[in-house]
């Protein structure tokens, strides 16, 4: 197991980076903010169908590329650096849950469509403060679902939703159609302009219980969410570091480029340090995902814990070190600041992550 990127991974990073620069620069995020669209459908089509990013972790037998977690991490790092708005994270997590469950008909029907970008799927999970859904049996695998959950990634746009719910015998994971009766979906005001989030309200909504170990699938999805959000945060942190270093080299005050002043230089040095450490932890987590599955959960927690906080801090420093210009709407710094705030808490915030890590480490 090596931490450095393979030639294939470097090539993937390169092609995603070029794609982001050509097809989804930050100006296009500003167009989405103006239009209110959750993402650019043409960009998503290219990302999924042409670049194959939606199927990186889906096996070839289900129409994906079977490239693995490290490839996904590499792609998400570049997408995170460019704050690309897309339903990729929602689809990847939903696919992970389907893969971990034992429902062959759902896998065969849904996974190839997810891999091809034809179907938007999401995993409707939130913290205990975000609501709660109960399932009541209505014969065989059929249930009716009642409750609410928020925030759900791409919840308003998803064609299918995987909803964890409390049933009589414990937690189950249910497949719910986006157009199901009694399902209402409200788009939320997302602090991060690059995410589309929704609240789901379910009132006797029909769903189908997926066969398999729901607890194990939930845990696997939580681990993959940690890897994914750590990857995006690593890319975005590096983007903040590059942007702010570049500015500190050219902005002059008191007769010197501001980077000459230790008050500025040392903050950037700390940002470089936190990126290097987070990146090393991220590489370890991505490799463990493919090669050492028994170490993956802890490694992904470590990467998430470090990068979520480091990125949120770096994004604030990016605003601060740019001075007044960094606090304007026109400057990109606030886009990262808001993304950093959101990435830190989505799918399990810092306290929850540390508690889970403490359990895993036998503290």
């Amino acid at each position: 197991m090596t931490l450095i990127l393979t030639d294939e991974e470097l090539a993937l990073a390169d092609s995603v980076r070029k794609f982001v620069a050509d097809r989804s620069p930050l100006t296009s995020l500003r167009q989405l903010i103006a239009s209110g669209e959750p993402y650019d459908a043409a960009v998503w089509k290219q990302m999924s169908a042409q670049l194959g990013l939606a199927g990186l972790t889906i096996p070839e037998s289900f129409g994906g590329a079977g490239a693995g977690y490290s490839a996904l991490s590499v792609a998400l790092t570049e997408l995170g650096a460019g704050l690309v708005a897309s339903p990729l994270l929602a689809c990847v997590l939903a696919a992970e849950v389907l893969l971990r469950m034992d429902d062959d008909s759902a896998k065969t029907e849904l996974l190839p469509k997810i891999a091809g970008g034809e179907l938007i799927a999401t995993f409707a999970v939130a913290s205990s403060a975000g609501g709660h859904v109960t399932a009541v049996g209505s014969g065989g695998a059929s249930v009716t679902l009642t409750g609410s959950v928020s925030p759900v990634l791409n919840g308003a746009e998803a064609d299918v939703l995987l909803v964890p719910a409390q049933a009589e015998g414990g937690t189950v994971i249910c497949l719910v159609d986006g157009g199901a009766a009694g399902l209402s979906r409200t788009r939320l005001t997302a602090v991060d302009h690059s995410r589309s989030l929704a609240r789901l309200a379910l009132a006797a909504t029909p769903g189908r219980v997926l066969a398999g170990d729901a607890a194990a699938a939930l845990a696997a999805a939580a681990d993959l969410a940690n890897l994914a959000l750590a990857s995006e945060s690593s890319g975005a942190l590096k983007a903040c570091l590059d942007m702010t270093s570049a500015y500190a080299r050219i902005r002059v005050a008191f007769g010197q480029p501001i980077g000459a002043f230790q008050a500025v230089k040392h903050r950037l040095a700390d940002m470089e340090k936190s990126w290097e450490l987070g990146n090393a932890a991220l590489r370890d987590a991505a490799r463990a995902g493919d090669e050492k599955p028994d170490r993956f959960s802890v490694a992904a927690s470590v990467a998430r814990v470090l990068l979520a906080s480091a990125y949120a801090d770096a994004a604030v420093d990016t605003v601060q070190l740019h001075g007044g210009i960094g606090f304007t709407w026109e400057h990109d710094a606030h886009l990262y600041y808001k993304n950093g705030l959101s990435n830190k808490v989505l799918l399990g915030g810092p306290g929850e992550q540390l508690d889970r890590l403490a359990d895993s480490l036998g503290i």
């Binding site: 090596t2 931490l3 450095i4 450490l277 814990v305 403490a358």
Partner: protein
């Protein structure tokens, strides 16, 4: 080849190296006497060298093994679980040794390197002075031309191992009329020469892990010069690079009382693990410690792939010091009011480590200097204004001055 080396290393370590958790060198020296510890380490180093595991990347004609970074990494991996009693050679081999390999004359390399590797001679490094720490180029120790050699006068400080070293690599000013960086030379000094006085330096923990060294009219022969006269700063930069890499990649000792495993066990023993704050701090300590280890590993892999870390070694140094400080805070929180007064040896060891933690952010280049290096040489930011860079040394204000 590599597989063969790994198999040999594994077999030799299993047969010869102690797995026990060795006490720290200083505590061991206090209980057993320093001479006994030195004798044991010299004997072990000789065995290590004879078996072909000392100077792995150094040329064979100077006593090295003539192998590559790949074998060095294999050795680090295989020896990680052992406590090799070679601590007294660490500074000499990683700093003056590697610098001589790069800059030494043929005669110097043939004279000194083989005896370093075989454990016959111990070396130290003499850079810092009472008036020259972070700004080490403002050093005042002088070496004045006398016939074909020099006469050395001055004081060095923070010298590890001076009390048992045979030789040292020393920086001294050879031309005070030049700007500070341009009038320094590096020399080999015989630590047993007349005029050399070594005194232990007691630090905040109450222990004396360093020395002050005084030079009073010490003769340096013509062949003592390392590199060129007045080009000692270039040699110092080479040595400091080796120092940062050595410190950044040496990893933390397994017996570190501030390591995650130690503090988790301590917290369990003190019944502190039900406290959510303590649990979260310990989990974060694990995450931070793991990242520092993984970054060192990443740097080694990059080096092996032909991309040496350069100034990113400073990131490793800075990260290690920050980790020590964070671990000190976690340890203090685990101990709670037990840190204020204790009578158990276990708590004394942890408390000493907490008190020692800030030292790592000063030793081997302060964290402030590391941040300057990272800012300027990794991120390409403008250099510090450096008002003294062009001024002749003898017109500069240096050291600690109470007036003006």
């Amino acid at each position: 080849m590599s597989d063969d080396f790994r198999a040999r290393a594994r077999a030799w370590l299993a047969a010869n190296a102690p797995r026990r958790a060795a006490a720290d060198d200083e505590a061991e020296a206090e209980s057993r006497g320093q001479d006994a510890v030195i004798a044991e380490q010299k004997a072990f180093q000789a065995k290590l060298h004879a078996a072909g595991f000392a100077g792995i990347t150094w040329p064979a004609k100077y006593g090295g093994q003539g192998l590559t970074g790949a074998e060095q990494i294999i050795w680090s991996q295989e020896s990680r679980d052992f406590e090799l009693p070679t601590g007294v050679f660490f500074i000499g081999l990683s700093m003056p040794g590697n610098t001589l390999v790069e800059l030494g004359t043929e005669a110097q390399k043939r004279r000194y390197l083989p005896k370093m590797l075989s454990g016959e001679e111990i070396w130290c490094q003499l850079f810092s002075e009472p008036g020259a720490g972070s700004d080490v180029a403002s050093l005042q120790t002088s070496a004045v031309r006398d016939g074909d050699g020099w006469v050395l006068n001055g004081q060095k400080v923070w010298t590890s191992g001076a009390q048992y070293s045979d030789f040292g690599a020393i920086l001294a000013r050879t031309d005070p009329t030049k700007p500070k960086h341009n009038g320094i030379s590096m020399f080999i000094v015989d630590m047993h020469a007349p005029g050399v006085t070594v005194r232990p330096l007691k630090v905040a923990t109450g222990h004396s892990p360093f020395n002050e060294v005084f030079f009073d009219n010490v003769r340096l022969p013509a062949d003592a010069l390392i590199g060129e006269e007045n080009k000692g700063w270039d040699a110092a930069v080479v040595m400091l690079r080796h120092e940062r890499i050595a410190i950044g990649t040496m990893g933390s000792p397994r017996t570190n009382p501030l390591a995650f495993d130690s503090l988790r066990d301590l917290a369990a023993g003190l019944d502190r693990t039900a406290d959510q704050g303590v649990r979260r701090e310990l989990a974060e300590l694990y995450a931070r410690g793991r990242a520092v280890q993984l970054f060192a590993l990443l740097l080694r892999e990059e080096t092996q792939a032909g991309r040496p870390p350069g100034a990113r070694g400073s990131v490793a140094k800075l990260a290690g010091s920050d980790l020590g400080r964070f671990a000190g805070n976690v340890a203090a929180d685990v101990l709670g009011d037990q840190i204020a007064g204790f009578d158990a040896d276990e708590l004394a060891a942890v408390t000493t480590s907490i008190i020692a933690a800030p030292g790592s952010a000063i030793a081997g280049g302060t964290s402030e200097i590391q941040r300057n290096i990272i800012g300027e040489r990794v991120l390409g930011l403008a250099k510090d204004p450096g008002v003294d860079r062009a001024t002749p040394f003898n017109q500069l204000r240096v050291g600690t001055q109470r007036q003006q």
